[in-house]
């Protein structure tokens, strides 16, 4: 019973890590995707390299690097901040790729029409392109959010007191600790399966609208 309480109390931390990393990734992904689309080759190649590196290193290594490594450079972070930054870096790379796909899905004519109407770059982007791109990215963003929710479990290794941390601490002291992992798994599934169905529904509706 005690273990169950600990897990339920840890759920907000799971959400905090997930939402924090998603928000940070979202903000970082915007300049990344512009750099990835620019005509200036050195910038474009660098952006691609940054994206590849951020995605190519396992999240757990990012977290250990930030939490245990950065203090050598006099950057001391608490586990929660370190986890949000680490997962945020990884997210920025994946989200930049999702954004890129979304922008590619906007018809070229939309850019041309905006230019023909004499709209500025900023207005074109915020009023014409973004709303259309965002709509086509919604399923991808939802799917990524689900993946991130599960990846937030990795924060337990640097001591963030989210669900898996609560389950492992309990499992180490109690013979029936294993059941707490089933509870944690059930919570993840209970959140991710409906979200996944929603993403699939959105996709089907969009395919039907396009057909």
């Amino acid at each position: 019973m005690q273990g169950l309480n600990a897990i339920l109390l840890a759920i907000p931390y799971t959400f905090l890590v997930t939402a924090g990393a998603f928000a940070l990734g979202f903000v970082l992904a915007i300049p990344l995707v512009f750099a990835r689309r620019t005509r200036i080759t050195p910038i474009r190649v660098t952006a691609q390299f940054v994206i590849d590196l951020a995605r190519g290193i396992p999240p757990i290594v990012w977290l250990l690097f930030i939490f245990f490594g950065l203090p050598a450079m006099h950057v001391l972070l608490d586990p929660l901040t370190a986890a949000i930054i680490g997962l945020g870096i990884v997210s920025s790379a994946y989200l930049a790729e999702i954004f890129r796909g979304g922008l590619l899905a906007v018809h070229r004519g939309q850019f041309e029409a905006s230019a023909a109407l004499g709209l500025g770059g900023w207005t074109t982007f915020t009023r014409i392109i973004s709303p259309q791109a965002l709509q086509s990215m919604l399923p991808g963003l939802t799917t990524y959010f689900i993946g991130l929710l599960k990846d937030s479990s990795i924060a337990s290794v640097i001591g963030v007191t989210e669900m898996v941390y609560a389950a492992t601490s309990y499992a180490r002291i109690s013979p029936d600790g294993i059941y707490m992992f089933f509870v944690a798994a059930a919570v993840y599934i209970a959140i991710s399966v409906p979200l996944g169905l929603a993403a699939r529904g959105m996709e089907n509706r969009m395919n039907r609208a396009a057909a």
Binding site: I57, L64, K150, V164
Partner: protein, 218 residues
């Protein structure tokens, strides 16, 4: 205090041994997980209801629960069933389950893309159902699923780093061990990251090239 490069050189053999374990874990999980994934893909679309529900349940559990939780369940769970294998064995079991669930979903997507016409044609030629699967559906479906499966292979290679938390001595665990002995965490985790990237980045390039090629042909 030695320079970073000397420090890296000193510890490189140990790190390389860790990378070897990571690669081994990846290959074992794919070798065992892919056939199971194919079975799950066929199970999810099979007519008998119990079989279908069992397959859907396994796929949704394997994809819905984080790989880390699955590893812990295997690691802490098997001893309750009076079997205490090495950590490496627990790791392979856990990652195989995750692999089977994800690849099951990708393969199902691939099989669904096989044109109904070619299946009907095979049936019209009086091919037995097992032959239709073996010669028509699976070869074509696997080709469609190939880019996602390659992408997943990169993901599962990264996921082997999770097994550090159940004491498997793969690359991340080696880095952690060295960092707690030398307190040079920044440098050793930096090296670990670069070693992972040295495998994942070229693999991702290869994946997108294969993807482009296959999509050109269709």
């Amino acid at each position: 205090m030695t320079t970073t490069f000397q420090f890296w050189a000193e510890n490189f053999p140990q790190m390389l041994a860790g990378l070897g374990v990571s690669v081994q874990l990846t290959l074992l999980s794919l070798l065992l997980g892919l056939p199971l994934g194919l079975l799950l893909a066929l199970g999810v679309t099979a007519p008998p209801r119990p079989l279908r529900w069992l397959s859907i349940g396994l796929v949704e559990t394997g994809r819905g629960a984080p790989a880390l939780v699955i590893l812990y369940v295997v690691y802490f769970g098997l001893p309750i069933l009076h079997w205490t294998p090495e950590a490496l064995v627990s790791a392979v079991i856990g990652l195989t389950f995750t692999t089977a669930a994800y690849t099951g979903e990708y393969i199902r997507g691939g099989l669904k893309a096989v044109s109904p016409g070619s299946i009907e044609a095979a049936h019209a030629l009086a091919m037995p159902t097992t032959d239709v699967l073996r010669f028509i559906v699976i070869p074509q479906g696997m080709r469609v699923a190939l880019p996602s499966l390659m992408g997943f292979a990169v993901q599962i290679f990264q996921a082997t780093s999770l097994t550090y938390s159940i004491t498997v001595s793969e690359l991340t665990a080696q880095a952690y061990g060295i960092s707690s002995m030398t307190f040079r965490s920044l440098e050793i985790f930096g090296l670990a990251g670069l070693m992972y990237a040295a495998i994942t980045v070229p693999s991702s390039w290869l994946t997108s090239r294969v993807e482009r090629r296959l999509s050109l042909r269709h």
